[in-house]
Amino acid sequence: MRNAFIKAVYEQAGKDNRVYMLNADIGVFVFDDFKRDFPKRYINLGVAEANMIGVAAGLVLSGKVPFVYTIAPFVTMRCLEQIRVDVCLQNLNVKIVGVGAGLAYGVLGPTHHAIEDIAIMRALPNITVISPGDPWEAYEATKASVRHEGPVYIRLAKSGEPSLVEHRHNAFQIGKGVTLREGKDATLIATGCMVKNALCVAQKLFCEGINLRVINMHTIKPIDHDIILESARDTGAIFTMEEHSVIGGLGSAVAEVLAEESTEKVQFLRIGFKDTFCEVVGSREYLLAKHGLDVPSVSKMVANSLRGSPVQ
């Protein structure tokens, strides 16, 4: 996803000279093309995230469209007040891009994990929160964020994510969830890299006679109310799946819509990290399994829940 983002931002910079790229000292060489072709619009602020956000806000006040980029926890939580006051309060056109969503940096430990970022960003007024599911979507989200007026947070995984070819025929639109698979028994709503896993869960449960609908919710704010309510009506059961805490992320956003707007009785479960940091390190796959977020665990959880058995 990182490379897709870098390609998109390079192309956008070629078309629109308001586009700037701000970096806080990560990714040696990855911005070389941008630096070569738009040297004045590439700014590396060193290891200084708070300064980077403030500088970006200043650039917007002078008509620019800055992207700010570093590792996800550092581009959101390290400089949170700058984002809240300088960017969101003034509704400025800063595009915040975090690399290493969820557990992409598994072995580097909790400081480098990002499992609260969606919740924190989502709480801020004016910001749009996007969590692409594959490189194509990261590319499209980057383009769309330039067209969109106002602050945007794009949460990228790292590299080597598989593409979700299934949705290529759908144009990317901020705020519009995408149904990747039709089903009638329940709906699995996922975001980011969990979309791929959701499709695998659906495939697995299909063999067990459970027919899941799968929705890719690439935009978490504003959340797509219609697709949630429609799925609640059609399937009567909704599961959310995210590489993030169950507090405040996709699951919470969906729960809010269901609790306030759904007229149906809906079975509902959030699947994500349960209010915890990772106690040990490990690869992303290892840690997901440990926290019950791998395909077999989620499949079991969904199946048990639908059959009325205890979930864990």
Partner: protein, 289 residues
């Protein structure tokens, strides 16, 4: 207990030549840890080897048998990504079993790519997000002053880390609080993650910055164990003032192709490069015997 309260660190019979040999062994250990884990920062750890050896074998008043000894000196690796060097020295000093190093970045283990408090004996606080360590050390030093505890706090910072505003907020408060029980050491290897610091966000005049923040400054060759230890054993450099040692170092020190090359901030050697690294370290070690 009188042993611990002695001005000198715990008695070690190691000569400087022994410690220089140890530096070669630790470099090899660091590389092996990262390579077998398939992750971790090598070059940032290599630049801090002699600083850590000096601290753990010549300066810190610590007791591996009792890592929680209340009067112990605290060491905080604020540039947490250099943790392979810390884990290796903790093992050399007996805080950890040598086998524990094999768990570095392995699935299900606590010894990750940044050090975590409460999980590894000898690790005083969790780091990994840059720019936190100095503030935490100030808290520890303030508490020590209030409690009449004679322990001292030593913090190792990266030079890139000194771009963070929080480092300077901390620097300002350390002199306000007259913390002469606090020592900052900067691993000044002139590189950060994306290049040379002078091209990205220059620190110079660096010593003057610290001085103007009320610190007493010394500059040393950060690869000279004698010079580093001697200097660190002279703290506080001035009464009622915090001390800082700017240690001039080489990022990737000891492996020629890693030295001073930004590519190696977070990269692992391939097979050929690994053999080359072993060869250079072995030759270095041989030259001492």
């Amino acid at each position: 207990m009188t042993l611990h309260l002695d001005k000198k660190p715990l008695e070690q019979d190691l000569t400087v030549v022994d410690l220089k040999k140890l530096a070669y062994r630790m470099r090899r250990q660091i590389i092996d840890m990262a390579v077998s884990a398939g992750g971790g920062h090598i070059a940032p750890a290599l630049s801090a080897v002699e600083i850590l050896i000096s601290l753990y074998f010549r300066v810190l008043r610590i007791n591996p048998e009792d890592p929680q000894w209340p009067e112990r000196d605290r060491f905080i690796l604020s540039k947490g990504h250099g943790c392979c060097a810390l884990y290796a020295v903790l093992a050399e000093r007996g805080f950890l079993h040598r086998d524990a190093l094999k768990t570095f970045c392995q699935d299900g283990h606590a010894m990750g790519g940044h050090p975590e408090y409460g999980k590894i004996p000898g690790v005083e606080t969790s780091t990994g997000s840059l720019g936190h360590g100095l503030s935490i050390a100030i808290g520890i030093s303030l508490a020590a002053k209030n409690d009449g505890n004679t322990c001292r706090s030593f913090v190792l910072l990266g030079d890139g880390e000194c771009n963070e505003g929080s480092v300077w907020e901390a620097a300002m408060s350390a002199s306000q609080f007259q913390l002469d029980n606090l020592v900052a050491i900067v691993d000044y290897n002139k590189l950060l993650a994306t290049g040379f610091i002078k091209d990205v966000m220059a620190l110079e005049p660096f010593a003057m910055k610290w001085k103007s923040f009320g610190w007493e400054v010394r500059e040393v060759n950060g690869h000279d164990i004698n010079e580093v230890s001697r200097t660190l054993n002279e703290v506080p450099f001035a009464e009622k003032r915090p001390s800082v040692v700017i240690a001039h170092t080489v990022k990737g020190k000891g492996v020629s192709y890693m030295e001073n090359n930004p590519v190696w901030h977070y990269r692992l050697p391939n097979k050929e490069e690994l053999l080359q690294a072993y060869k250079e370290l072995n030759e270095g070690l041989q030259s001492l015997t």
